[in-house]
Amino acid sequence: MIVGGRVLVGVAGLVLWQLAQWVLGAEWISGPVDVLQRMAEITVNGQLVRHTAATLMEAAFGFVLGGGAGILLPFALRLSPRLTAALDPFFAAALGVPKLALAPLLILWFGIGIFSKVVFVAAVVFFFLFFNTLAGVRSMEPRLAAAVRVFGGREWTVTREIAWHTALPYVFAGLKVALPRAISAAVVGEFIASDRGLGYYINNARAMADTVGLFTGVAVVTLLVLAIDAALERLQARSLAWRPLAREIGV
């Protein structure tokens, strides 16, 4: 039933999109037929793979760098509540800096190659994961930690068993927001200065007044985000299978 409904809505959306092209004109809107045709072209000539790979690589490296730090740092800070309290206002201040406005500066510092985008993605992703994970680690139940210590568990076991499992739902909530932004950040970085990537492709299409290219680029980015999100959902359902909520709503 649900699947049938989804197909219906999807088809209706595609039809409306195509209608929009006919009504408003091809120079403003490119419908799904043209976009699919362009996708086939750039798949054959290798552009699709080249640009997608570049964007994915920037997003992935940046994500591992920023996300890794954002997830691990709260666990380290757990060992020193006083240091955490001391650093709190600085984290808040750093959060307040609009990361998008930093992109030109990062390009000035790190050049137009992959490195500037990696740093940009890392800066964007870090904060989503850091604050979520920090909240998760802080919601740990002291009585569970005490039980583990009575069994003879050391700090490492408390971290690995209690803090980690308590924080995991928060980490996933952070990933859910951060992963699409990692792709967006890479694309935005490419808008500003690059010689490859989906952002470059889109920006190049804009410069050439290539409406089909613009729509195709946006469509590819959207599909990429959807695919990553679907993979994340599966990972989450597996990792959090113990939770009554996740099971009952069939995530």
């Binding site: 039980a147 003879g152 113990w242």
Partner: protein
């Protein structure tokens, strides 16, 4: 070390909680508390709610630090204001079954029961068999793969109990472990506990506010005062073992003991 020395000794123990936001004054939960526990004794402690019974167990288990006095175990000083860093469980010598079970919600029943052994690096085929035997003994067979939230309150209590029994600490501290259960489940669990205790007698310090429970289970019971808690009186419980918890009310001597303790708590 003489054979007559008590296994566990509490001397002049005191615990003060400092003032903090929402509680203007510092207060003593326990003060001048002294008693001892013999090896393989089942000691029960009754006292009014909020009389520092849980605090006492936290001090013995070394989850919380003492303000004055000391705790000795096998004639060794293990807790005092100057004893230094806390060592929860004192190197697996003390098991602790708390009021709310502390089962890990992300682990199945079997993983929970095996968890202490895993932490202690003692997970062997023998130990797995021991765990299976305990699961069988308390009727949890067939629920091994269930998560805690899928079990009833009574089943969770049983799981928490055998999770501590499985690693065999010489002393088990129990803090009103059957408090939140219906009467029938409670009696069943009390019987389970006595049966398991009979199989391999350990030293148990069992805290409760239920006089009948204190008499039904213990070799001896201590009556605590209101906070700051100290020992008001002590009663040997001369009822024969094995005991039938469900009909303990009808056993000779139960009624007198119950009335006496009740009067002291009033």
């Amino acid at each position: 070390m003489s054979g007559a020395a008590p296994l566990l000794e509490v001397r002049g123990l005191g615990k003060r909680f400092e003032a903090r936001a929402g509680r203007a004054e510092a207060f003593w939960a326990i003060r001048d508390l002294s008693f001892s526990v013999a090896d393989r004794e089942f000691l029960t402690i009754v006292g009014p709610s909020g009389s520092g019974k849980s605090t006492l167990l936290n001090l013995i288990a070394q989850i919380d630090s003492t303000t004055e006095g000391e705790v000795r175990f096998r004639d060794q000083l293990i807790a005092s204001p100057t004893a230094g860093t806390l060592r929860p469980g004192w190197d697996r010598q003390f098991g602790y079954v708390t009021q709310d079970d502390t089962l890990l919600p992300w682990r199945t029943l079997l993983e929970n029961v095996l968890f202490p052994l895993r932490v202690q690096n003692r997970l062997s085929t023998d130990m797995r068999e021991r765990a299976a035997g305990l699961l069988h003994a308390v009727g949890l067979e067939g629920f091994e793969r269930h998560y805690p939230h899928e079990l009833s309150g009574g089943m969770r209590k049983r799981a928490a109990l055998i999770r501590t029994l499985v690693y065999d600490p010489p002393v088990i501290l129990m803090d009103e472990p059957f408090g939140a259960l219906d009467a029938q489940t409670r009696t069943q669990l009390q019987e389970d506990l006595l049966r398991l205790w009979n199989l391999g007698r350990k030293t148990i310090v069992f805290v409760t506010h239920d006089i009948a429970e204190a008499i039904a289970l213990g070799d001896r019971t201590l009556v605590f005062t209101r906070a700051p808690a100290h020992v008001h009186s002590e009663h040997a419980i001369p009822l024969a073992r094995p005991r039938d918890v469900a009909s303990i009310y009808t056993v000779d001597g139960f009624a007198d003991l119950h009335a006496a303790i009740r009067k002291e708590l009033a």
